[in-house]
Symmetry: C2
Subunit: 357 residues, 2 copies
């Protein structure tokens, strides 16, 4: 495909959470319609042309969905392989299967990154009590055990303060294959929100600096306080990853900044929470950038027009919205979720400031 998707075309989005919601709005802004596929409640449905409510094991629903759209993308990486097979037989999926295969499995992902010559935290596979002991002997403690699949926002993880915690940590995996990761002594974590278009062009947004609380992203501040040389290195690393995957779309690449090197923490083959600042900092935000890539448009440039601090509104934080709404330069983005459970991302606020250079 060398021509962009025709105006009025339908972009199928797997997942109806806040990322699907903001992708849907971006699709509309470029003249497309969004069709959401989501088994559960779909806040994205409030801003989508159509919603299919069905499970990823519902082959008929998957087929009907695929046939009703022109291209398929997704807001999360843990889509069952069988569902992808069904969909891909009918319409293109962007980003492609290789990105999903790599990022669905922490071990595969780390091996892929090492294979590109990029640094990661030290790691060792753990599939049994025996391997757990070997892994602790190799990686040491403190360290962190994570399931190979299906973890996010601190779920499916167990910390080892010392080697004695190994049995409890392994038990917490409930038999799931895992990876033991050594702690990295980093001064800060940054995100590269990178995009690759259908013609292979790569564009990175300005780097954001992340702060996590309780394993969940709390804030992203742009610009990140790192030297320009490291920004360039980070962009080159992201480009290497995208090219190796023949990637189409936006990817979030989390990096640890250490005295010696930039270390890849993890990659997410989708728009990313640490890229929400772009909504109020750039002419083309990460959601539109993703749709542009998926639809075969030229990519927007990733330079910010303003500095931004993005703060996630998690659980009860939503109660602060009336105060935040009074701040003169605050842009509030709420996700339309019915219930404010603890740890649940309810919205975010972008605080806009004049750009520093």
């Amino acid at each position: 495909m060398s021509e962009p998707l025709a105006p009025g075309s339908v972009i199928g989005i797997l997942g109806g959470g806040q990322l699907g919601r903001m992708l849907s709005v971006a699709a509309a802004r470029l003249g497309y319609k969004a069709h959401i596929f989501e088994p559960g409640a779909a806040p994205a449905g409030d801003v989508a042309a159509r919603v299919t409510t069905a499970g990823y094991d519902d082959v008929d629903a998957l087929r009907a969905f695929a046939e009703s759209v022109d291209v398929i993308t997704y807001e999360f990486e843990n889509i069952p392989t069988a569902a992808l097979d069904t969909l891909e037989a009918i319409r293109p999926i962007r980003p492609g299967r290789e990105a999903l295969r790599v990022s669905q499995d922490r071990l595969t992902e780390k091996e892929f990154l090492r294979g590109l010559g990029l640094e990661t935290a030290p790691f060792a596979p753990v599939a049994s009590e025996e391997e757990m002991a070997e892994a602790v002997a190799k990686i040491g403690a403190p360290s962190i055990l994570k399931t190979r699949r299906l973890g996010y926002d601190g779920k499916g993880q167990a910390r080892l303060a010392s080697a004695e915690d190994a049995p409890v940590a392994w038990a917490a995996m409930e038999g799931a294959e895992a990876v033991l990761e050594g702690f990295v002594n980093f001064s800060l974590e940054v995100s590269v929100i990178a995009a690759r278009g259908l013609t292979g062009e790569v564009v990175c947004f300005d780097l954001g600096e992340n702060v996590h609380k309780s394993g969940i992203l709390a804030t992203t501040t742009v610009p990140a306080k790192i030297p320009p040389r490291l920004s360039t290195d980070a962009a080159l690393m992201a480009g290497k990853i995208l090219n190796a995957l023949d990637y189409v779309g936006v990817m979030g690449v989390e990096l640890f900044v250490t005295p010696g090197a930039l270390i890849v923490n993890e990659i997410a083959p989708r728009v990313h929470n640490s890229g929400h600042w772009t909504q109020n900092g750039c002419a083309v935000d990460q959601f539109e950038q993703h749709i542009r890539a998926v639809a075969g448009w030229p990519l927007g440039d990733g330079k910010r027009h303003s500095d931004v601090e993005m703060e996630n509104l998690i659980g009860d934080d939503i109660d602060r919205v009336p105060q935040i709404a009074r701040e003169p330069h605050a842009a509030v983005h709420l996700y339309g979720k019915a219930e404010a459970r603890s740890g649940r991302k309810m919205g975010h606020v972008n605080r806009v400031k004049p750009a520093t250079r």
Copy 2:
């Protein structure tokens, strides 16, 4: 109502064009759902939780619509009075009826503005051939005859180059009551996009400078090239209008800048094409500002973080989108309309530049 509308509430929007579409997205961003009422094709439906397709004479549909929403607003001022009566008996309409009564009729509007001590173009009512002759005698030529009701984007208008054109101009009205307006010798036209909240606070966005082509807005450039004193005067004039109408929501006020004074061209009791620049120039844009007002939120401040030139994409202009998409600081907004007819607004582009002070 002193509490803001509860999260998850439904905002009913009369009209499903591009303004309703962008209002719907803003409503979602604040955690609300939008329900569109539109007799025809509704591009807004692509980003709304619900759409009712029915005519303004369909009392049952109007009632069901009103009962399904928490508050009603609109994207255009020419809503039939009977429909408003039906709706208002069930739910509040914001902005209120007085704003609609005044702005639905050019003559009433001009008399209202004069009553506030504001300047307008010279005008005279024309309801017959006789009055036409009297009006030309009073106003002279060049001048312009406009229907009192239902004109927009240059429709329902006839120009008089000289007094001899009077009979042809009057015939063009096809019996509709009209107003003859004298031409104003202005150096430029500016827009105040003003908002008034439920508690009476008034906020104006930075002034934009408008250029029309063939009676349709072509570009709005911010900041407008006018002295700060005039900006203040313009904001005070807008405030006077909003307060007099006990207005709730965003209003577009078009002003002619003349050597002697600021002259009110017309007011529109809704979000306005000349306020589209705010989407990429402000933390809170005109669409969110309107929803904030209607939902009882505090208003965003109207200061821009960036300079913007907004260009409308009309008819075939849509063919330039591939080139525009390559410009580094251009934000494209397409309306999802199926067919690019001549004179039809298909989208707009906001070109973002660092803010001048």
